[in-house]
């Protein structure tokens, strides 16, 4: 369980998150949706402990970050480190002994090439593989489908389902509503640093229609495309 109480975040005078109160139950998958700049990534960084914040974040763990696998929107890679070495580095940092990395290469990545030379999608898949092999209990996946090919998209969707089966807690932010609808138990809609809606599985279809209407509205007509 992760319980967030009155979470606010400021960058200087600029307030990004406004007193958020959210509870994530163990073994459930949650989606966070919202426009760019709504505060999704900042929320994830606060939960991970990568940002200072006001408010409180409780969890079942003494140190949540030690049980957390964090997939960043743009994962960081070190220069002149191969994919295999990257996985080893992340496993070492959690004292995980990896026997055969090659066997666990489910995305068929060129593990003996420099990870910094990978394409955007390959980087994402490598970073995801690395955090999965860390044997975490909680996963935060920030835009896991960005830049990823359709086959891998299907694999990632199944991985999320498998994590749920294994009673792991998963938080996902994505702009691809269909995959969220397929994997999530609840979806939170964020706008300008606030949670404006919490929707359960039964109402996902309605949320998608509402979001479409809200997001698109008559904006395209304003372009007067000819």
């Amino acid at each position: 369980m992760i319980k967030i109480e009155g979470l606010s975040k400021f960058y200087g005078k600029n307030q990004i998150l406004y007193s958020l109160n959210i509870e994530f139950e163990k073994g459930k998958t949650y989606g966070i949706v919202g426009e760019n700049g709504a505060g999704k990534t900042t929320l994830f960084r606060c939960i991970s402990g990568l940002e200072n914040y006001q408010g409180k974040i409780f969890s079942d763990y003494k140190k949540l970050k030690n049980h957390l696998g964090l997939l960043l929107t743009e994962p960081y890679f070190l220069h002149k480190i191969t994919g295999k070495e990257y996985i080893q580095l992340l496993a070492n940092s959690r004292q995980i002994q990896l026997v055969s990395i090659e066997e666990k290469n489910i995305f068929d990545l060129p593990l003996n090439q420099y990870a910094s030379n990978y394409s955007t999608g390959m980087k994402k898949k490598l970073a995801l593989t690395a955090i999965l092999l860390q044997e975490n209990d909680v996963f935060i996946l920030d835009e896991p489908f960005n830049g990823v090919d359709i086959q891998s998209n299907l694999i990632i969707t199944d991985i999320i389902k498998e994590l749920k089966r294994l009673n792991k807690t998963v938080l996902i932010s994505s702009h691809i509503f269909s995959t969220l609808a397929e994997t999530c138990d609840e979806i939170f809609l964020m706008k300008s640093g606030k949670i404006i809606k919490k929707v359960n599985h039964a109402n996902f279809k309605k949320l998608e229609i509402d979001m479409k209407q809200f997001s698109i509205g008559n904006r395209i007509n304003k372009l007067n495309l000819k």
Binding site: L50, K63, Y76, K80, I81, E85, L89, S93, Q95
Partner: protein
Amino acid sequence: MKEYFQLQFKLLNRKIIDFGVPLILAYTLLPVLFTLVLNYLYSKTEFAIPILILSSISFIYKLSEPNRNDFLKTIFNNKNYKKIRIVENLIFSLPFSLFLLYKFELLYFLLLNVLAVCFSFLNFKASNNLIIPTPFNKKPFEFIIGFRKTFYIFPVAYILTYISISETNFNLGVFCMLLIGLVCLFYYSNLENEYFIWNFNQSPKHFLKEKVKTCAINFTILSSPILLTLSIYFHTQIDILALFFLLCITYQATVIFAKYTAFPNEISMSEGILIALSFMFPPILIIITPLFYLKSLKKLKTILL
């Protein structure tokens, strides 16, 4: 093109200011220091000119980095791109070529400038993707990255050690070990993203212990051919050898602590001065090593929670 160089000049000034040095001081003191160092080198060794040319080339080489060049190619047309690369290389080699001119080494002056121009046309993309195997696969990352960047230094050090044995020159042998120690020291100069520290699930104390342990083990592996050879051939001076070996490990630990003292910023000027002072007067390590250790523990607590 003019705007590009103006922008580069602005970036350079920002870097100097961020490092904590006033611009006037940097532009007056650095050329003086540079000339003094080169003069010293010139007076001390007959290999000064090759060292100087190689140093200049190593600076120029960095400008040939593929991503940087691809970016420039997307902004400028081919003619202007080539012009920029030539001018950049000549600017970077200018301090060295001016020194050669000052010493009337006209042939080398010409050679350096020709090399600078030639390097502007070279593409290092292929070599940059070359995967050099390392013996450090189980413990990424500093030694893997560092080894891949400096692998050519090790055979040179081992050959020099062989010469030190054949010429019965113990000092040269110790120099080879110190060279490897110094090279390993630089492996810790690059800052990693805080994500890689955040991932570590143990205490700051344990984090630093692991870093120093890995560094000591890997340095021992790389210097073991030298250590073993010198121990056999100069066994009467094994105590001196052990002293220098321990000194290397202490310096490495100090630099690791200093790095995390300043994290996520680079080592600041005050820390840099303290480290530089310790090279002139090693006993100062007794004070600065624990000082950096305590400061780095404090800094790491904020990331490792």
